[in-house]
Assembly symmetry: C2
Homo-oligomer: 363 residues x 2
DNA sequence: CGGTGTCATGACATCGATGTCATATGCTTA
DNA sequence: TAAGCATATGACATCGATGTCATGACACCG
């Protein structure tokens, strides 16, 4: 590959002059500029990033670690929204800033993180983005290094800047939407107990109920702890059973995510309960593959992954330019409620739905 | 960040000796080695990739362009399997080879490719992987450069090495599986006409039929040209209508991909046709989010994206080591048939299924 | 005891771009 | 006309690692 010396020789000038044409950092006569440009063109010259990095001691690289993509064999990957969306959001911002994103995948093995960080150090990355596969406390130790870091979808206890979804606000807004349609008996099939998302969203759910003067009925909240496991369908089936025991049955079911909602659709239909006529269903994530393919299309709360990626990249770039701006606080990004056909007003009959309990014995 | 000179001074040796310890390319006394190792540790020294690149004129970087990830707003992304799986497969191989993968996303805009390639050139990547979002002819012009390239999920006419899914073999194997269960009337709801996958798979489908002595009935093949559009559900509904017109109705439906199968499940149920008791359904892709969440779980053909990524990376690495090995031919990677609950033997009644045509008027 | 290896180590140049400083050219102004 | 100054350009050193070549210290051999 041609070097700046080749270009200089070809144009009959010094390398330094070529450099000036490249960087426009000093006046160059129009005639010289043209000669140099022609030479660069003729030789197909592209400046070497490595040489620039050496001289300037700035790599122009941002490292991104995703623990999320994980192994293709893992069903867990498929459970929620692919963190890929976060990566895309970040990349969009980084590329516009003349920097280059170096993406590393742990392949699901957190023990590989030190290796990846080492590679980043070799490349002298100027900052690091760490992406978790779902909202949780940080589960690896990121070496200090001396460079800015931003966590995405996770957080730590030592004030590292972090960008997370606003789960509480999301579920609150979604639940308000459900209530505003006229529902009063609302069931909630949550994700696994103890997860960040579960706790926060449940809190948003209760807040919306209480604001509407609806009393909270613990029987209407069931968790799917074994989410993703073999007995999953049975588990969801049982949870729904509990919702429909007794007289005062729910007219709407909130689900921990869209995938869960998909399973719920199927189970309700097996039991002869129609969606949305008899029971409204809403999800979470806005996983388009599901929400737009299900019938009726699924009302859901957006999990703003792309926006989170954008925001995190912006924060990181800020940290790189102003070393002062200590964004030490955690940023919560909220998503929209996406209304679709699965949420309608409850039937204004007070007759309890008839549950086909026999259906429970299906395979 | 500490340099090799700092380490040398700290250990009381010359930089060259430190280099020897780093690269183990010349004998160093045990005592010296320990002193150097201690110094490296104390200073947190990590060698500069840029300096190495300059000296060796080898960047150790592989560029990957994905036109696939595209804009998050595009439903098309969600239609098939995310090409992310290809990227993961490639990354696994590249990382094991001591090289680093530089990933760029076109964000769906092919006109950005020249920019991305330029960035790759600045970084002096040693090879390029180009990933398309679905099996098709190459739709951009990749500048020649002087470096090896491997296309993934696409191909060109000038003999660039390419890795694509073996769609014909996949659908052939899947259809054989359907036939082996006893089905003779098999409908096929394909992806859009004219697509590579559609053409090849249809060919595999017909081959399997003909081998089994089943005559091909054009009425049993319908395409969903408007896949992903607003009127999609109606379109699929109509296609299924056609399948079930007349007496000789299908006992199994092959779908162009898993998402389509998901829609088919829903429509069949709306029409009162049970899966798999009355009609078996199979998909394509093995999109786990769908195949393992649907009930019954979906029998499908694996679209071997991860394996394709692995294979392509291997081919590229081969090209980099042996400049002789001209892998000019296109490599077809075949996937497995994944048997699940949606494919069972047809009911051995000869009574035609009763179709609830009234259901058609649903919303 | 000098010749000849081998081993361990260092001095120096180099990769490609650019910062620093010097120089040449031409033009203005006292 | 000479001093003064802006403009355009080049020589040289430098960033960090490593290839090349040289050298010092031993050990072994005839």
């Amino acid at each position: 590959m041609a070097t700046i010396y080749d270009v200089a020789k070809h144009a009959g000038v010094s390398p330094k002059t070529v450099s000036r044409v490249l960087n426009k950092d000093a006046p160059v006569s129009e005639k010289t500029r043209k000669a140099v440009a022609a030479a660069m063109n003729a030789l197909g010259y592209v400046p070497s990033h490595a040489a620039r990095t050496m001289k300037s001691n700035k790599s122009g690289l941002i490292g991104l670690i995703t623990g999320a993509i994980s192994n293709a064999d893992e069903i867990s990957t498929a459970a929620g929204l692919p963190d890929l969306l976060i990566v895309q959001g970040a990349q969009k911002v980084i590329e516009n800033s003349q920097k280059t994103l170096l993406i590393s995948d742990t392949g699901g093995r957190l023990d590989r993180v030190p290796d990846l960080v080492r590679t980043f150090q070799e490349h002298r990355v100027e900052g690091i983005l760490y992406v978790a596969d779902f909202h949780k406390p940080l589960d690896v130790t990121l070496p200090g290094l001396g460079i800015p870091k931003v966590l995405i979808n996770c957080y730590d206890m030592v004030g590292t800047p972090a960008v997370v979804p606003d789960d509480e606000a999301g579920q609150y807004a979604l639940t308000r939407e459900v209530i505003s349609m006229g529902h009063r008996r609302i069931a909630y099939l949550t994700l696994a107990r103890g997860q960040e998302a579960t706790t926060l969203r449940l809190s948003g759910f209760r807040k919306a109920l209480s604001e509407a003067g609806i009393s909270f009925d613990p029987k209407l909240v069931q968790a799917t702890d074994l989410f993703g496991s073999a007995g999953e369908r049975q588990l969801i089936w049982d949870a729904i059973d509990k919702f429909f025991q007794g007289d005062d049955q729910p007219t709407a079911i909130c689900c921990g995510n869209d995938r869960l909602a998909m399973a719920v659709y199927s189970i309700l239909r097996s039991r002869g309960i129609s969606v949305p006529e008899e029971v409204s269903v809403v999800g979470y994530d806005d996983h388009r593959l599901i929400t737009e393919t299900l019938y009726p299309p699924l009302t859901t709360a957006e999990l703003p992954y792309s926006a989170m990626g954008v925001r995190a990249a912006q924060v990181l770039l800020d940290l790189l330019s102003d070393s002062d701006s200590k964004t030490t606080e955690t940023i919560r990004v909220s998503g929209q409620v996406i209304p679709r056909g699965s949420l309608v007003a409850p039937r204004n009959t007070s007759v309890a739905n008839i549950i086909n309990l026999k259906g429970r014995n299906e395979r």
